[in-house]
Symmetry: C2
Subunit: 199 residues, 2 copies
């Protein structure tokens, strides 16, 4: 269609990226060819290396090219606090938004029997073992506020209590800067019911 | 920040793609690692090959990995019609949207003295030569409707007339399916002034 089979192949391959349809893949390919050949070649080489070398941290299961990730291997992080998230995306969000200095455990999913995601797939045997070692004092459950995330949170809370460890959840409520009008009803009801003294 | 320097490097490298900021680069990197390693490796290899091998067609200047592109090399295309576009993006748009079966000439830019884009940079010597060869009967000027595109169109029209060749422009007007309310004033005024019999 544009006279270059290789260009058509590049446009097609770019569509494996999330949120990239035909139009933006085309725009990307043209821009790479027209203005960014050097940076594009660098991207291709970093991508190859990352996809071949990045595995999972043996302690927290987040993405890591070393057996133990930079967070788990950092002696400055508080090993008494363990925050459980569904994926490295949430880990990164918490790292960027908060001053949290504890450790993480990444489920790489959520409980979802229909998708074959049970406790074994989420590495909960390893988490149980970690809790049994006695170092963790508080399990901060930061699964997503979806039906499956809530079910997973419930399961994790039971696991913590069985091990005699304090479990906590992120607070729900109206987002900062969010207008009440646009907050979903469930969140609003929850925030209203859990209202705090304004003194 | 996420415990993997290589992952941070991948996120950073993805930002050379147009329209990709920090957040979407992160989402792309995670998705590639979590679900698309095979397709990601394929993308990296196609990208490397494309950026190394794709040059420009010696006849129309569009992207091509062969000396002459698939359109110029196609004996079924009408060599009496030559459509001039600013970039391969517009060439692809016209190929996809219309039944045009003529040939193209790609400027790879537009007249813009301040950016050092003059007739030489747009390959107009080659275009002049092509017009002098006598095969082209109509020069279809399809530059973008911007100030620089219009100036370029004007220059091209003079070039055609100097060579005794008919020059035409794409029709301006209200886009099909566009609501009048949302059409910009210049286009609306132009469409109104150029109104045609409704018989
Ligand atoms: Zn780790
Ligand atoms: Zn060509």
């Amino acid at each position: 269609m544009n006279g270059s089979p290789l260009l058509a192949e590049l446009v097609d391959a770019l569509r494996c990226l999330p949120g990239v349809g035909q139009k933006s893949a085309q725009r990307m390919a043209y821009q790479l060819l027209q203005r960014e050949r050097g940076r594009g070649l660098k991207l291709a080489s970093v991508m190859t290396e990352a996809l071949q070398r990045i595995g999972h941290c043996s302690q927290c299961r987040t993405f890591s090219e070393t057996p133990v990730c930079g967070i788990c291997g950092n002696p400055g992080r508080d090993r008494h606090l363990l925050c459980v998230v569904e994926s490295p995306v949430e880990l990164a969000a918490i790292e960027q938004a908060t001053g949290y200095r504890g450790c993480y455990f990444v489920l790489l999913g959520r409980l979802s029997p229909l998708d074959g995601m049970g406790p074994a797939e989420l590495g909960l045997d390893r988490l149980t073992q970690r809790l049994a070692e006695g170092e963790v004092e508080e399990l901060i459950i930061a699964t997503n506020p979806t039906v499956e995330g809530e079910a997973t949170a419930h399961y994790l809370a039971q696991l913590a209590r069985a091990g005699g460890i304090r479990a906590s959840r992120l607070a729900h409520g109206v987002p900062l800067g969010g207008e009440l009008e646009f907050v979903d009803r469930g969140t609003l009801a929850h925030a209203f019911g859990g209202r705090q003294s304004a003194d």
